[in-house]
Amino acid sequence: MTFSDETLMAYADEELDATTRAAVEAAAAADPLLAERIARHRALRARLRAAFDPVLDEPLPGRLLASVRAAPEAPRPPRVIALRARPRWSWPQWGAVAASLVLGVLLGPLLLRPASAPVDTRGGRMLASATLARALSEQLAGNSGAPIEIGVSFREKSGVYCRTFVVHEAQSLAGLACRQRTAWQVLALAPAENAAAGGGYARAASALPPAVAQTLDELIAGAPLDAGAEAAARARGWNP
């Protein structure tokens, strides 16, 4: 019995009905050339899979993740904070953090206004207040016109997530907070320039004071998160 190449192909693709399949198997057992033709069909399929399956393991591009996920409430402007190349500091990164903390203490009077204080102090640490913590946990980076804006999100060297923020007020404050187990610890905080109204996204850039920018430079490992990575981190509750 002879089989067309289409039948052999369908056999290799497991598309034949039981009767035809049995007939092909019987014939192939007796005919090495037929068995060879079937093997070629199978080999081609295996080869194609081997070549294209690695695509499945590639990290998903942020833009694709962003497009399948729900659109953010406000359109996202491009990131504008230009990061300086990270200098190779010889002293511990925490030096800058400590300096910022001192700054934070000096800022104390600014923070004591009851309704709007963005940080609470607990056990000698500055933690984001409820309102700031909510913004840090929920908002994506970008100039949304919201009272609190997120500038850039990134991973610190130990893997924890950190974000810069600006609290817009009569005297705006810019800072940097890193996610601890249950809270956002504020590691830098400084008065920010109040940009002119309608400053667009330039506002976020001009609002990052040198002390905060330096802390960011000190802490950041690699590049800031892109939109997709940021959304993914948020989905994981900012757990490293």
Partner: protein, 165 residues
Amino acid sequence: MTIAGVRAELEALLPRLRRFARALSRNAADADDLVQTAIERALGHAGQLRSDTQLAPWMFGILRNAWIDERRARTRRLRVFAPEESAAEVADPRQGVPDEALALGEALARLPEEQRLAVALVLIEGLSYKEAAHVMEIPIGTLTSRLARAREALQALLGEAGAHR
């Protein structure tokens, strides 16, 4: 299906959509553009989905249509701006033996569009003949004959040497 449900399923399907697109379009960035276009179209039509619609074949169909549209647009552009696309696609023999994936991508790119689709759906994505015929909107007999011709062409392009690797 709720829109949130569609989004979640689409996200789970992303790796396969990317693989399918990569089989159609050799350039990885072009392939991802194709996936993005398909997602946007799908979300625009998600309201038409019936609860029993299988998302994967539906998405493959949308991606296929997006690809055909893109090919047509590209062909029009090429007619206006450049003499021939294929000249740039022929591998330079002096580069030595291209790696396996490259060789397969190149061989696939030489197939007629409809054959390439059949290979991508059945041999790479593992759809049954029936599902693939449905995605391509053709009778199953047409699908099998295209697939058979595509396999023959691929074997010839790739040569015996690699067939048993």
